[in-house]
């Protein structure tokens, strides 16, 4: 097996060169292209068999099959749009699903630390009074971006195929929203630690902080990848 996952018996240098040319133009990692490359390979080998059966000598049959599949750039363009759509959809789903999970950990922290529901809103430190609504705004932006990204990559695109083009941008908005929400959450934790560290319940706070850091890192990676793929599409 080579890096493209070819069984040695089917390896044809011309075919592998063509597949490598397609793969080199696809966004994302080679691992993500493995199934696409395998499917194209089996198609080209089927085409080669068909040309052989029609009477071409093997070497010419391979070349005829490659010619029949068309310009590698054009094949890659077709798949790039699909890969971008899939990437945007996954990013939007992960960001949307993890938001409430991380949120619950912060609420547990607030309850365990006797910040909520024991304090009236007016009694809370000014940092929290400003920070919590900002987190809510960031979460709202995230949810809107993510929901649009999911809608723009699903069944709706049967009727509105061009909607997919907007999905990477929407997923990037969701990603930046999530970065904002998590960074604010961590900043509020930092402020609380600096001013009233003794009141915080350590385990829930540590779990919430770890979850926020993980989500922030995922969102950052996803947002920049979606931005990059969006630029590549236009």
């Amino acid at each position: 097996m080579n890096w493209l996952g070819t069984p040695a018996s089917d390896a044809q240098p011309g075919v592998e060169r063509y597949l490598a040319e397609v793969a080199a133009r696809l966004p994302g990692s080679p691992r993500a292209h493995r199934d696409i490359v395998a499917e194209l390979r089996s198609g080209i080998l089927d085409a080669t068999d068909a040309h052989c059966s029609a009477g071409l000598p093997p070497a010419e049959a391979v070349q005829a099959a490659i010619d029949e599949f068309g310009d590698p750039a054009r094949v890659a363009d077709g798949f790039s749009a699909e890969i971008a759509t899939g990437l945007a959809r996954r990013a939007a789903v992960v960001v949307l699903v993890t938001g409430p999970l991380v949120g619950v950990l912060w609420i547990v922290t607030a309850v365990a630390s006797h910040i909520a529901p024991h304090h009236q809103w007016a009694d809370l430190p000014p940092g929290l009074q400003v920070g919590v609504p900002l987190v809510a705004v960031a979460a709202g932006v995230t949810a809107c971006g993510a929901l649009f990204g999911i809608a723009a990559t699903g069944r709706l695109t049967r009727w509105l195929p061009d909607l997919c083009r907007r999905a990477p941008a929407a997923a990037a908005v969701a990603g930046f929203g999530a970065i904002g929400a998590e960074a604010l959450g961590l900043a509020l934790l930092g402020a609380q630690l600096a001013t009233a560290a003794g009141t915080l319940s350590p385990w829930p706070a540590a779990a919430a902080a770890a979850a926020s850091v993980a989500r922030l890192m995922f969102a950052r990676r996803a947002a920049f990848r979606c931005l990059a793929i969006r630029t590549g599409l236009t």
Binding site: G43, E68, T153
Partner: protein, 113 residues
């Protein structure tokens, strides 16, 4: 027939080819050529992204299967795909009837002497 001419109809054509039975990519291409008596001859590589798009939108379902030692991705219509094909058929019938009527040669208007 070039890809540009087929633009907008490729999805419906792929669904129609998959209606009788599930097929893998190259068999779909062969069926396209056979059923159009060689008139449809797209670069074969371009139908694969179209099939992936149909899969994402739930109109076809794909699965890997090994036949004769070669792994192939086999596509079959979903029930949503069958419904979409019916819609595509009736839209096309209306469209082609209208365009046929419009392209019909008209008797030339006789100018008054």
């Amino acid at each position: 027939m070039r890809a540009e001419t087929l633009k907008g109809h490729l999805d419906g054509i792929l669904l129609a080819v998959l209606e009788p039975e599930p097929r893998h990519g190259y068999a779909i291409m062969e069926a396209l050529r056979d059923r159009s008596a060689g008139q449809v001859d797209l670069p074969t590589g371009t139908i694969y992204p179209a099939l992936h798009r149909l899969e994402r939108t739930g109109l076809v379902r794909a699965s890997w299967s090994t036949v004769g030692g070669r792994r192939r991705r086999v596509y079959e219509l979903t029930s949503a795909g069958r419904r979409a094909l019916e819609t595509e058929r009736s839209t096309w019938r209306d469209f082609s009837a209208a365009v046929t009527a419009l392209l019909q040669p008209m008797p030339l208007a006789v100018s008054p002497q």
